[in-house]
Symmetry: C2
Subunit: 461 residues, 2 copies
Amino acid sequence: MSRDSVVMLKEDHKEVPQTSPRHRVVVIGSGFGGLFFARAMRRTDADITLIARTSHHLFQPLLYQVATGILSQGEIAPATREILARQKNARVILGDVTGIDVGARTVTSELLGQQVVTAYDSLLVAAGAGQSYFGNAHFARHAPGMKSIDDALELRGRIFGAFEAAEIAESEAERGRLLTFVIVGAGPTGVEMAGQIAELASRTLKRDFRSIDPGAARVILLDAAPAVLTSFGEKLGDHARSRLEKMGVEVMLATMVTDLDAASVTVRDPDGGSRRIAAVTKVWAAGVAASPLAGQLAEQTGAGLDRAGRIEVQGDLTLPGHPEVFVVGDMAALKDCPGVAQVAIQGARYAADQISRRLDGQPARGPFKYSDKGSMATISRFSAVASIGRFQFGGFIAWLLWLAIHIAYIVGFKHRVTTLLHWAVSFLGRGRAERATTEQQVFARNAIDDLGEGYSPTLPR
Amino acid sequence: MSRDSVVMLKEDHKEVPQTSPRHRVVVIGSGFGGLFFARAMRRTDADITLIARTSHHLFQPLLYQVATGILSQGEIAPATREILARQKNARVILGDVTGIDVGARTVTSELLGQQVVTAYDSLLVAAGAGQSYFGNAHFARHAPGMKSIDDALELRGRIFGAFEAAEIAESEAERGRLLTFVIVGAGPTGVEMAGQIAELASRTLKRDFRSIDPGAARVILLDAAPAVLTSFGEKLGDHARSRLEKMGVEVMLATMVTDLDAASVTVRDPDGGSRRIAAVTKVWAAGVAASPLAGQLAEQTGAGLDRAGRIEVQGDLTLPGHPEVFVVGDMAALKDCPGVAQVAIQGARYAADQISRRLDGQPARGPFKYSDKGSMATISRFSAVASIGRFQFGGFIAWLLWLAIHIAYIVGFKHRVTTLLHWAVSFLGRGRAERATTEQQVFARNAIDDLGEGYSPTLPR
C-alpha cells in the first residue's frame, strides 16, 4: 500500500499542473539555507513544502555551547514548524529525503517506513554537510563530530563523564588519559571547543572534585595545517593561538592524526615522527562531507563534485540543464565561499529572488555573488577574533561584537532571554546551567561500549 | 588489578578507624533523600560520601514538563557535584551501587568497569524506586515511564514525533492511531501528563500543521482505580476529573490494562469486557518498584519487603540489628507515608539529626513521624488541586500555590529565572521553548524499532 501511494501521488503530480495554478516549491533542509529560503518566499504566490530530517532549525555555530553545558538544546534548536506556523504558504514535512528525481520533478522522503513523494515546479536543495573522517569511518565511534544535537549531547556526556571517571581512577596514568582532551581541527569550531573545555576545567569545575584537580586537565588542539584559524589570516590566527596557549591549551600544528582508538590518538609530528597521545575524550572538528544527495544530483545532471562531495553549481546556483533546481549552502561548491551560515543565507535569498522574478515575469538577476560580511570566532569569555572587510581585531571588542551578532541571529525572543541569562551564568559567573546528561549519554555507558575493544581502564599502558 | 584494589580498599577500611577519627557516612542516591541528607550533615564533623548513578539531582515532580517541551533537562537536573561543591565535608562519586555489605560496612559501586569500595560508619540508603510494569516487562518498550531524564526525553521525542507522523499519514485509521495518547495511571504524574498533552495539542500546536488538526488528538487517562488522584480524596479527585474532561481528556476509570503493543492498548472495562484502543503513544505512570538494593538489605538484615519491593524499616528508619543503616524515601515501607518528595526530605533530615546526636553523645529522638505538609497536582495552566491539612481546594489559587512552592524548591537561582521565563512562554503564551529532540530520540527512529514487531503503518487494521 505504501508503494501504491507513491504511484498515486506521482499520478496526482502529473495532473496537478492543470488543477492547481500555484507554483510548487520544495525545500530540502531546515538549516540556514532551507529556513531562510522558506521565509524569503513568504510573500510570493508559491506553495512552499520544506522537507527536513530533523524537526528543528539548528543554530550550528553555538553547538559547542550545548556540548560544554552552557546552553540547552532547545535554545539553539527551535522547531521549524513553529517558526513557519504563521506563514500560510509554507508547510513542513519531517522525513529523510531518500531520492530526488529531477526528470519527474519529485522528492521522495521517508519517515517511520512511510514514503512521501512530493512534486515540485522549483526545488531548493540545502541538505548541508556531515562530518568527514577522510575515509577512516572507525574514527567516528571514538571522536564524535559537531554537527547535530545528538553529537553535542553525546560530547557533553563524554566531557563531564571524563572528569567523573578521573575522580575514581586508580592510577596516575589512568587519570592522565581521562583528563586529556584532544580536539582535532583548529578551525572556528575546534578553537571554540578547546577554549570552552579549558574554561570548564579551570573555572567551572574548580571546586567540584576532591581527588583530582580539574585544572590539571590537558586540552590539546591539533591541526594538519601550520596555523589555527587559517581562514582568518596570519595575524588573527597568531592572536588566537597565543590566547589559547595562555589559557593552557596545547596547540599542535602541522600535526596529522594517523590513528585513533578508545584510549589514544596517534599523530605524525611535523618532523615525520609518530607519537601516541593517551586521551579518552576526542572531538572531531576537522572535515566535512556534503550530503549524499549531492552525488544523486550530480549523477542525474552531469554536474561535477569536488573533493568534499559538494556539487558544482552554475553561476546562478542552479544545476546544468535544470534552471528549476537550486543548491545552496554547504552542499554547493562555489569559489571563494567558505562553509559558513552567511553563504547559505545569501544563497537562499538569491534563489528566492530568482524564483520570485520568474513568477512575476521579471528578468533574472546576474550570477550570485557572496558578500563577505566578515567572520568571527570566540576563544574564551571576553575574548574573540573578528575579521570584517579590511578590519581585523581580537579581544574584548571582538567578543562584544560576537555576542551582539549571535543574539541577533538566534530565532525567537524567549530563546534570546534565556541564552543571555545562561551566558551571564557562564561568563560572569563560573557555572554551567545545562550540565545534565542522560544515563544513556553519560560517558560511562558510551565508554563501556567504546572501550570494549580490548580496553581496560585498569590495565597499565 | 581492579580486584586487587577492592581488597586493598577493604583493608584500608579495617585500618581506617584507628587512623581517622572522623565518622564516615555514605549516602546512596542523589534524589531528595540523598541530597537533603548530605546538606543536613554539612555542619557535622562527619565525612560524607554521596554515591549516585546519575551526576544530577533530579527534580522529579517537573519531569513531565521536560517530556512536553516546557523545560530543559538542565533546569530540573542540576549537577549534584555543583550543589555540594562548597560543602567541604562532602564528596560525590558517580557509579552504580552493585553491593552493600552491612557486615563489612562497605558499599561497592561501579563506573566504566571500575569498582570502588567505600567503607562507612553510618549509611543512608535513598536509592528510590523505578517504574513497575507489574510483571509485564515487555510493556516498557512501548510505554516509557516517567522516572528519569532519559524517560522524559524519550517521551518528548515520541509525543512531538506522533504529530509529525500523523501529518503525513495515509489513512484516517493511521492518523487516529498516531493522534491517540494513552496515559496509564491517574495519580499526580498521570494527571499532569494528560493535562499537558491536551494543552500541547489544543494550544501549542494549533497552527503548526497543515494536514491534521492537532486539537483533534485523543488524550486518554486510564486507571484501574475508580477515581483520579485517589490520595487527594473524593472532592479533589472529582474536581480534577471534571477539569480534565472539560479540556477534552477522556478519563477511563476502573479500567485495567491487560496488554500493550506498538500500536495499541488492550483494556478490561468496568463491566469485564475486553477492548482494544488503537494508540501509538503510551505513557506509563502507574506503578513503582523500589530499587533492588532494598532486596539486598532485606536478605542481610531479615527485614521484610512489601509488594512494591520496599523494605520495612523500624520506627527510627534503621534496619533491624543495624542502627547505623538508615533507609529513607521511596525505598522504605512506612505506614501513612506516600511516595512523595516530602517523605524523603523529612526522613533524610530525621536521619541526619539522629546521626548528629549520636556523634555529639546526645540522646536519640523518638520514632520518625511524617508531617504531611499537603500535596498538590497541576491539571493545566492556571488550574491545580491542593490538599493541605483540612483545606482542600482547586483552581487558580491552588495553581499559584503550586507555582510558588515549585519555584522555591528548584535548586539554584539561574534555574529559577529560566524556569519562570519558560513558564511564562508556556502558560501566558502558547509556546514550548524546549521542543528539540535528538535524531536518536525522535519518534521515527524509536518507532521503527518498536513497530518492527510485525507492525506496518500502512497495513489497515
